[in-house]
């Protein structure tokens, strides 16, 4: 048996929809009789907002039924609570724990001493991922809605930094174990992106950085892809200026629409064409990395619970779960 359960880390540039994708992935993984834990670590309560439930406490709560009937639990990891829990659980520092708090050590550790925060957050995920329930893991998978691409390698690697600082002792031991889990074959780091230049550039940079740190890259998930509404012949006509405003106006008149709108429609068509060309070129760049790609479309009415099931099914079809 592996040392920990499957861990799916979901990162992406801000605004790419990584929380939505993480939630959909958790639902896709929660097939019949499976239990999946979805964690967030940035204090944004993004999961609660997505599932339309009250703010999550520092406790694992069931938030949804998975695709196929499993259970999705959610947890908002809080650094301070994690530290106190950690002290109580591993070192039975009942009295010392209180003394640490009185001396401002808890406050120092979680807010002032930068980095400790990330150690605690990853430490809690580690605890959940290797927790056992009899002869099986408590969760069949853990999905982590992780910090954005700009920070992800540093975040996942923070325990390697700690290992460099603390040369002995239980913190060192735990840091080493967490790094082993992060680099294990049971872990996958997925990167969510849009088909736009900057998110794609950050994705490419993150792939390089993750690989250099020995962290396993899973899928690149292209989110919010716009469907190719324009056919090849229309795109060509728009690009070459072959579609004249007069013929657009004539067609509009034939269906009793305002012919004045023809120039505006052509503008919209041209900018859509430009967007499609851009999408295609960005997708080609992502293909060059050799990382598996999965694609999720932009949903017409935004994201609600029903839409999450739709996205979960698509992720399953794409082979992520």
């Amino acid at each position: 048996m592996a040392l920990s359960t499957q861990l799916h880390v979901v990162t992406g540039k801000g605004g790419t929809g990584k929380t939505t994708v993480a939630a959909a992935l958790a639902m896709a993984l929660a097939a019949e009789s499976r239990r999946v834990l979805l964690c967030e670590v940035e204090g944004r309560q993004g999961i609660a907002q997505l599932f339309d439930v009250p703010p999550l406490p520092y406790a694992e709560r069931k938030v949804a039924v998975g695709l196929g009937g499993g259970e999705v639990f959610a947890l908002a990891v809080d650094a301070e609570a994690a530290l106190l829990e950690y002290l109580a659980m591993y070192y039975r520092l009942g009295r010392a724990g209180k003394a640490l708090d009185r001396f401002g050590v808890i406050d120092f550790a979680t807010t002032i001493a930068p980095g400790v925060r990330d150690v605690l957050l990853t430490g809690k995920v580690y605890e959940a991922a290797r927790r056992r329930d009899g002869d099986r893991f408590a969760y069949d998978a853990v999905v982590l809605d992780a910090p954005p691409t700009g920070r992800i390698t540093r975040f996942l690697n923070v325990n390697a930094e700690v290992a460099g600082l603390a040369k002995v002792g239980p913190v060192r031991k735990q840091a080493d174990s967490i790094m082993s889990m992060m680099r294990a074959p049971t872990t996958r780091v997925h990167i969510v992106t849009l088909l736009e230049e900057m998110p794609v550039q950050e994705t490419l940079d993150a792939i390089v950085a993750l690989r250099a740190s020995g962290l396993p890259v899973g899928h690149v998930i292209v989110n919010l892809e716009r469907a190719h509404v324009l056919s090849a012949s229309t795109q060509k006509a728009l690009a070459n200026g072959e579609l004249a405003a007069e013929s657009v106006a004539a067609a509009l008149r034939s269906v009793s629409l305002d012919a004045e709108a023809s120039a505006g429609l052509l503008d919209e068509g041209r900018s859509r064409h430009e967007r499609q060309v851009l999408q295609d070129s960005q997708r080609a760049l992502l293909r060059e990395t050799g990382v598996r790609l999965a694609t999720l479309p932009a949903l017409r009415d935004g994201v609600d619970l029903g839409a999450l099931y739709e996205l979960a099914q698509l992720l399953r079809d794409e082979g992520l779960a």
């Binding site: 002995v168 913190v171 950050e202 429609l265 919209e268």
Partner: protein
């Protein structure tokens, strides 16, 4: 995760400026840039909303209206460099060629936090002490790899740049996510670090008589040693002892910068996109800034889809597209254009709903809408287009 409540000295009112008049309306970006009393503009907002692009576009527009501008980004990704065509961003402002008119100029820099930290240590400690600090393992970790140091150093750098008096406008781009406002907490945290019992405790063995080793201290250091190993505590103690003399200066400068941010020469812009999550974050920033007594100039909503062919509604366009789809080639092409239009109208009305909800909740915040461009921005011309959408060249919100 929040520190002790901060009480701002001498609560101030947000300064109403620009063309919006009292209470909301349109944010007049050009009036803001033309206001010589405004020396610092801070752009904040969640990740991916175009803060860096907005900062660079504001900086460029101000430079072309005759101001001497420096754009400071503390974002770890080299996005500003991409959009400004800079190849070298090395912790000193670099001139952006081809930007500026009427005596105005544009410089840009990206914060290198480790370098900034090292420079502060070197400038304020004796050479021996500086060497001691720079080689301390705890310092090395603190200054180079840990999140959070960035915000402290951003405060330092902003203070330094402002002190140099080389520029009459500094535009600051902040890191993504909520931690962006952590730099507001930097002085508070430094103070609590300096005055905190923990630091005094750390200093005790180096300074005080042995009797300070109370029973409580013994338990604490014992616990820490058990957790971390004795050598880490020794590293931290050595660091704190060596750094002790620097703390005061650090705190003083951070407090000065904090006061500068609250003063009337500063204007905060909250940046968002018309998505529910980004607007929620924007609301959080607006409320937080108000709570800290920080002068909010307004909200920038990037990437709004406005219908170019507003004369046709989504429903009638959909019906017409259906009819034309069976026609000749040009009719089929027009049917596709109408389908594009339907999608665009739907997006536009969803975005309008989202932004209206924000305005209903925060009616006094002046707002400017920036239309979505078809392509990405990665050169000065692109930044100029964004600048004119931000400024008075466009009808906007």
């Amino acid at each position: 995760m929040t520190g002790p409540a901060h009480t701002s000295p001498g609560g101030r009112h947000g300064h109403a400026r620009g063309g919006g008049g009292p209470g909301g309306g349109r944010l007049d970006v050009d009036a803001l840039l033309a206001d010589r009393d405004v020396q610092i503009i801070v752009c904040c907002g969640s990740g991916g909303v175009g803060k860096t692009t907005t900062s660079a576009a504001l900086g460029l527009r101000a430079a072309e209206q005759g101001r001497r501008v420096c754009v400071l980004t503390i974002d770890p990704a080299r996005r500003l460099a991409q959009s400004l065509g800079l190849t070298e961003l090395d912790n000193v402002p670099r001139r952006v060629e081809g930007a500026g008119a009427d005596g105005g100029s544009l410089d840009a820099m990206m914060l290198d936090m480790k370098r900034t930290f090292d420079e502060v240590v070197e400038a304020h400690a004796s050479p021996e002490k500086a060497a001691q600090i720079l080689s301390n393992p705890f310092y090395v970790a603190l200054s180079s790899s840990f999140a959070g140091t960035q915000e402290y150093m951003a405060m330092e750098k902003l203070g330094q740049l402002h002190g140099e008096a080389t520029w009459d406008l500094i535009v600051v781009d902040t890191p993504p996510s909520r931690s962006a406002l952590d730099f507001l907490d930097a002085p508070e945290r430094l103070s609590s670090l300096l005055d905190g019992r923990f630091v005094r405790l750390m200093l005790a063995p180096a300074k005080g008589p042995a009797k300070l080793f109370s029973a409580g201290l013994g338990v604490v250091t014992g616990a820490l040693n058990r957790l971390l190993g004795a050598q880490v505590l020794t590293d931290v103690q050595t660091f704190v002892a060596a750094f002790d003399t620097l703390f005061g200066g650090f705190r003083q400068r951070a407090e000065n910068t904090f006061a500068l941010l609250q003063a009337s020469q500063t204007a905060f812009l909250v940046v968002a996109t018309p998505e529910p999550a980004a607007m929620r974050e924007a609301a959080y920033f607006v409320e937080r800034l108000a709570g800290e007594g920080m002068p909010l100039a307004g909200l920038v909503v990037n990437r709004m889809h406005t219908g170019a062919a507003d004369g046709i509604g989504a429903d009638e366009a959909g019906a017409a597209a259906h009819k034309l789809a069976g026609g000749n080639e040009s009719e089929r092409q027009v049917a596709e254009l109408l389908t594009v239009h339907v999608e665009r109208q739907r997006i536009a009305s969803r975005e309008a709903r989202v932004t209206k909800r924000f305005t209903a909740a925060h009616p006094s915040v002046p707002t400017v809408h920036v239309a979505a461009l078809a392509g990405d921005v990665h050169d000065l011309d692109g930044l100029r287009s964004i600048g004119s959408l931000l400024g008075a060249d466009d009808s906007g919100a």
